[in-house]
């Protein structure tokens, strides 16, 4: 019970913090009303409350970019003050849900896409931002923030998932970059014959293994297979989805993945790749700095890392330019904000400037289009950004697309598949049941 008690105590403290913060809100807004009454002009003083999750300590570059953008916006709009409140990731999530439960969200804040926004949208707490959803965004990125055709958040980051590989190791054992699943299997066999671990994967948290399953489903059944099965347009027990599970199980059985993958966390698995104990690693582009700019990794290692697109499957309906990935955090505007128009202007401005600054200053790939010609970036970034411009499809991570309950089943089933505890048919049936139970 101790944990429970601590949890409740913590929730109580957050509530108190929340209430204090709300008190501030009301003070400032009533002050604004007073001054607008006095002046009666359009140049009234407005305060935008902005909550974000990049503290100076842990996300220095992100924090500096935000500060720069806020300063610029305030300089351009003299009557506007942006008041920031900065919390770490977990505290941010907690506080947002507490503020959400009392309908006291900040004017502008950060949110995640997919299932995360549903309670806020159905509670009518997020403002409709469809008017700001323009062609500056890479196609497919704002869909993660859309409900029933309206956009409720503007994404700041975008991640796709390439397969990183150790070129030096490939050369040593005479392995070529695989373009099809059969070539990948041949590469795995060669590496195994030489006592090398082909692929490192930290499946303890299972979202990592989920990316493998999603790619296989994409390459076998075509780009919309997973999304359609989750939304209910097709059954999860359709042939392509069962076959994808069977292929994944075959990879497991042939020893493609590192020994004990279900017990390894993602960071531990990545450690094997960095220690050059494994040849391939499927992970999102948020790891790009590790292979390019991170001075903690030896230069020689970083130079030997390349990437390739997930191989196609012979006879499958998939396209090699289709990616598994998803936007990271995005910005929302509160529906009940007193300064909704200014907040929307701020969000629009923020997204545009963020897109210009984030990739060079923080190594983040923004969800907005980037002109690679004018930027001084490591080659791998330029290649990825060019690939993004040619991307035919982006499938949002399955566990993000699903409701929390279905995602829990999905992640457990992925582990079960790796352990050989379920057959591909049982795997699909469990998904179908969990997805339709809602």
């Amino acid at each position: 019970m101790l944990k429970k008690r601590l949890g409740l105590l913590f929730a109580l403290m957050l509530l108190v913090v929340g209430l204090v913060a709300c008190g501030d809100d009301e003070d400032t807004s009533s002050g604004d009303n007073g001054s607008s009454g006095d002046n009666g002009s359009s140049e009234e003083e407005v305060v935008i409350d902005f909550m974000h999750l990049w503290p100076e300590g842990s996300s220095k570059q992100h924090n500096m970019i935000v500060q720069t953008i806020v300063d610029e916006f305030e300089a351009e709009n003299e009557n506007v003050t942006v008041e920031m409140e900065i919390l770490g990731n977990e505290q941010y999530k907690e506080k947002l849900s507490v503020l959400g439960s009392s309908d006291d969200l900040p004017d502008v804040g950060m949110t995640w896409g997919g299932g995360f926004i549903n309670p806020y949208v159905s509670g009518n707490m997020f403002a409709d931002l469809t008017e700001l959803d323009t062609d500056i965004f890479i196609p497919g990125t704002t869909e993660a923030y859309a409900v029933d055709g309206a956009t409720y958040g503007l994404p700041l980051e975008l991640n796709i998932t390439p397969m990183y590989y150790n070129q030096a190791m490939f050369d040593e054992y005479g392995v070529d970059v695989p373009e099809t699943l059969d070539e990948l299997k041949a590469a795995i066999t060669t590496l195994n014959d030489n006592d090398m671990t082909p692929i490192t994967l930290g499946n303890r948290d299972a979202w990592t293994g989920s990316m493998w399953y999603m790619y296989l489903a994409d390459r076998i059944g075509g780009p919309s297979t997973i999304t359609d099965a989750i939304s209910g347009d097709i059954s999860f027990e359709s042939e392509a989805l069962i076959q994808a599970a069977a292929e994944l199980q075959e990879l497991v059985e042939m020893g493609a993945f590192i020994n004990g993958t279900n017990g390894l966390g993602n960071d531990e698995a990545k450690g094997y790749f960095i220690n050059e104990q494994a040849a391939m690693y499927l992970m999102a582009t948020w790891d790009l700095p590790e292979w390019t700019t991170n001075e903690d990794n030896p230069q020689e290692f970083r130079d030997s890392i390349g990437y390739f697109k997930f191989p196609t499957v012979e006879g499958g309906a998939g396209d090699i330019n289709s990616y598994v990935g998803g936007p990271g955090v995005g910005l929302f505007v509160a529906e009940n904000s007193d300064v909704k128009d200014e907040a929307k202007d701020f969000v629009g401005y923020f997204v545009e400037r963020w897109g210009e600054m984030s990739v060079t200053d923080a190594g983040v790939i923004p969800a907005t289009k980037v002109d690679t010609g004018s930027l001084d970036l490591p080659q791998m970034y330029i290649d990825i950004l060019n690939d993004l411009n040619e991307a035919s499809n982006l499938t949002l991570y399955a566990d993000v697309q699903m409701s929390a309950e279905a995602a829990d089943v999905h992640l457990n089933m992925i582990q079960a598949l790796f352990m050989g505890e379920v057959t591909p048919e049982e795997f699909a049936a469990a998904h179908e049941e969990a997805l339709r139970a809602e």
Partner: protein, 289 residues
Amino acid sequence: MSNKKIIALYVLPSLLLLAGLVYIPIFLTGYYGLMEWNGVGAMEFIGLDNYMNLLQDPKFWFSARNSFFLALFSTLSLILYLAVSLILAGKIKGKELLRKIYLIPMLLSSVAIAQLWIKIYDPNNGMLNSLLQTLGVDSPPAWLAQRETVLVAIFIAIIWQYAGFYIIIYSAALKGIPASLVEAAEIDGATPIQIAYKIKVPLISGVIKTTIVLAIVGSLKYFDLIYVMTGGGPNGASEVIASYMYNQAFGIKNFGYGSAIGFALLILALITTWGIQKLTASKNDSIQF
């Protein structure tokens, strides 16, 4: 003011604290268990549905089974702790140093201990498997990744974690035994094993009963290492009641059901404590908390 009023006045502050931080939250947990609630927005009253679902939830019973295994394992490990304490209480060289070494795990935070054991159990680079391979074991198990080994692997880490705590308790109790009793036995020709088994252990039986209750109740609500080392995985193989409660409430935002699990855990712990007290009660002593 009368004596009683003064006593009440002095007790009041801590009573209020205790009520606000312990008893009221317990009551609220039971109350939330009657609700359908995702943590955001409005609650919906659904009566006893959560509790009925709980009784039919195989995952809950599986996690309860694991919790009871842990309780059994922890109780048996008390024998080991007691043996170590008895040895340390004897006349052996370097016992002060050993006592401090056994105490070290108590000074580490749970997360640090978990990280340490994750490194030890690492299937390819870990200390344990490297050792096994040098001893000639061809393919040692991937401890935390397999259903067959994951529970035992975590239990061993938990035994190590709590060794210092119980050894301190037993050592303190053994120190309270009058030296004259031991000397008299020695003069009568008793061996050290006889002294330990027939004199020391019976004399600290009250403390032993207390530690049994502590070990069992502590095991039923155990959470820390399991959450960090496996998160209850793989595929739920190492889930215990508290981690299942956490995953339901904070993982999939099913706060109503999570509260129901928490309340069921409380009741289980109460029943178990009561049961042990009944089982171990004798005429002369009673366990005081």
